[in-house]
């Protein structure tokens, strides 16, 4: 079949001006949206500026208060340690779950079932009151065997260790599921190729499978970190001096409840914003090899 005489024989026409331009239809809906959102935002700003209940002078006074800053430091510290503990437990439990060994799979299942199935608040208060159940913490052989080490539970369990155990074990159970999903997202051929090269199981996991799983693990983990930063406020029930507890202590003295809650909220908002930026860079790092144009056969 021959090309149409008006057309270039190569099927390309070089005159751009003859090609009809495609324009967008008018966007009436968007303009209505802009007016609606604008009105709501104006109202919020107006309230924030004129409503005396916000007491911005009190907020300003306490925003950088030494007590509040100490609370911020503790919140950051607790979040970091809990996430590290959670991550390590999560890796171990996820690997156990995928090991193929019936005993390890059972243990991993039981762990996730229990710590995901009970409320963190209950776990936290439970660990804090561990002394009621076990007056002394001992290391030795159970059922009347010899003891190697012994410490009173009231000494071992502080507000901090109770919060760490409660939040860390719970986080471990959630992280295990996130990591398992990530590991499953890596093609089986990858670990086969690694094995065929002669890598030890540990290397296959650490060098080949886990780095690729990170691409699927990082986004939900970032979500968990951000959630945990705020979730640490639950540790105020065991009187841990974190951000929420620090403002609680202040407003229980001066009754300026709303401005102090705003102080806490501003701090959480600020810290979460920083974490979001960090998450962006970590995600960028682990998408190495997947970036850029697909210039196959170059």
């Amino acid at each position: 079949m021959n090309a149409h005489p008006a057309m270039d024989t190569t099927g390309t026409s070089r005159d751009m001006s003859k090609a009809p331009e495609i324009i967008h239809p008018p966007r009436l809906g968007r303009w209505i949206g802009v007016i609606l959102v604008g009105t709501v935002m104006a109202w919020i700003v107006y309230q924030a500026l004129t409503n005396p209940g916000f007491q911005w002078d009190v907020v300003g006074r306490y925003l950088l208060d030494v007590g509040v800053l100490k609370g911020v430091a503790m919140t950051l510290q607790l979040t970091a340690i809990v996430m590290i503990v959670g991550l390590l437990i999560g890796i171990v439990v996820a690997v156990m779950r995928m090991s193929g060994d019936p005993l390890l799979i059972f243990c991993a299942h039981a762990f996730v079932w229990f710590f995901r199935g009970t409320p963190v608040l209950v776990q936290l208060v439970f660990w804090y009151n561990l002394a009621a159940l076990f007056p002394a913490i001992e290391i030795g052989i159970p059922f009347g065997g010899p003891k190697f080490f012994e410490i009173p539970a009231t000494v071992a369990i502080s507000s901090f260790t109770a919060a760490l155990l409660g939040l860390g074990l719970n986080e471990g159970a959630y992280m295990a599921e996130i990591i398992r999903a990530g590991l499953m997202s890596v093609d089986n051929g990858q670990s086969e190729a690694s094995k065929a090269l002669g890598h030890k199981p540990w290397h296959t996991f650490w060098v080949v499978v886990l780095p690729q799983a990170m691409k699927a693990i990082v986004p939900p983990t970032g979500n968990q970190v951000i959630g945990m930063l705020k979730y640490t406020s639950i540790a105020s029930v065991v009187a841990l001096y974190e951000l929420m507890h620090s403002v609680e202590l202040i407003y229980s003295r001066n009754f300026e409840i709303v401005p102090l809650l705003i102080v806490a909220a501003l701090w959480y908002l600020f810290l979460v914003s920083i974490l979001s930026v960090i998450q962006y860079f970590i995600e960028k790092h682990y998408s190495k090899g997947w970036q850029g144009q697909d210039d196959r056969g170059a």
Partner: protein, 282 residues
């Protein structure tokens, strides 16, 4: 560097002198393997001498890949022994019984056997160079300089010297498979296993991979190749083994098996696999 049509040609002189001996490098004896309810291997025997190229052919589901994967213990046979260079693979003799080795003991055995997969399985998060030097550095404890030197030498041989810094995703299937071959060779294996190395490639990309394998065969490397490329098998194989339903139904010199097959199943298989113009030769 791209102008080199046959990048391994330089080595040919030294290659041809590598004499083939009668000592079997690979010996599979009475291999049985079940997967779920299915018997996939039913007492398979296979040998490969040093420097021999064995092609495994046959319809899909015949157990070719499974047999190949038992040779480097990626899968373990239920019964029967695989010996490579006189050493039993996947188990050790203890008190008169054959006991399975641990995963880390298996990894030591696998390091000496190169394997190339249908889907390349390059590590996508590593550059081409890292893909090649990682195992020699980590397993053989080679220095970066030594491993890198050999990597460049291999990249030159497979004709991809300019791709050292690229990531696998940015390469064509044929290029990825040539990198995968270089990666396996970087461990200086005594045996190479190929599991349908061109099945995932577009027809116009298979030749560049097959050429590399042919050149490698000429270097005297012992190879066992699962393939559907009959013409390639004719060109490269010393021995052809045809499998069907978990057993080897015909084995012998490639020229005989692929040109004058005795088993009717082999004839049917060859007739189905060959394009029309090649069938007259059968």
């Amino acid at each position: 560097m791209r102008h080199e049509q046959h990048p391994l040609n330089a080595d040919r002189a030294s290659i041809m002198t590598a004499a083939k001996t009668d000592e079997p490098l690979v010996r599979c004896e009475n291999i049985w393997k079940t997967r779920g309810q299915n018997l996939v291997l039913k007492g398979v025997n296979l040998q490969a001498r040093k420097g021999e190229v064995v092609c495994l052919l046959g319809p899909s589901g015949a157990g070719k890949s499974t047999l190949l994967r038992c040779i480097n213990a990626i899968e373990l046979a239920d019964r029967g022994l695989v010996h490579v260079d006189g050493v039993p693979i996947g188990c050790a003799l203890r008190n008169g019984s054959h006991v399975r080795l641990s995963e880390s003991q298996l990894s030591r055995q696998r390091a000496d056997i190169g394997m190339v997969f249908q889907n390349f399985n390059l590590f996508p998060h590593m550059s081409v160079l890292s893909n090649i030097i990682d195992a020699p550095m980590r397993i053989r404890r080679e220095t970066r300089a030594v491993a890198t030197n050999r990597a460049y030498e291999l990249l030159r041989k497979v004709g991809l010297l300019d791709k050292a810094g690229a990531y696998p995703r940015h390469l064509s299937g044929g290029q990825q498979q040539r990198i995968a071959i270089a990666r396996a060779l970087a461990m200086q294996p005594k045996l190479m296993l190929f599991d349908e190395p061109t099945s995932a490639l577009d027809p116009h990309l298979t030749d560049e991979v097959l050429d590399v394998i042919k050149e490698l065969a000429a270097t005297g490397m012992t190879m066992i190749i699962v393939t559907h490329e009959i013409q390639f098998a004719r060109d490269v194989a010393d021995t052809a083994a045809v499998m069907s339903d978990g057993a080897i139904i015909e084995i012998g010199p490639a020229r005989d098996v692929l040109s004058r097959p005795t088993d009717p199943r082999t004839r049917t298989f060859l007739a189905r696999s060959l394009p029309d113009h090649q069938q007259q030769a059968v």
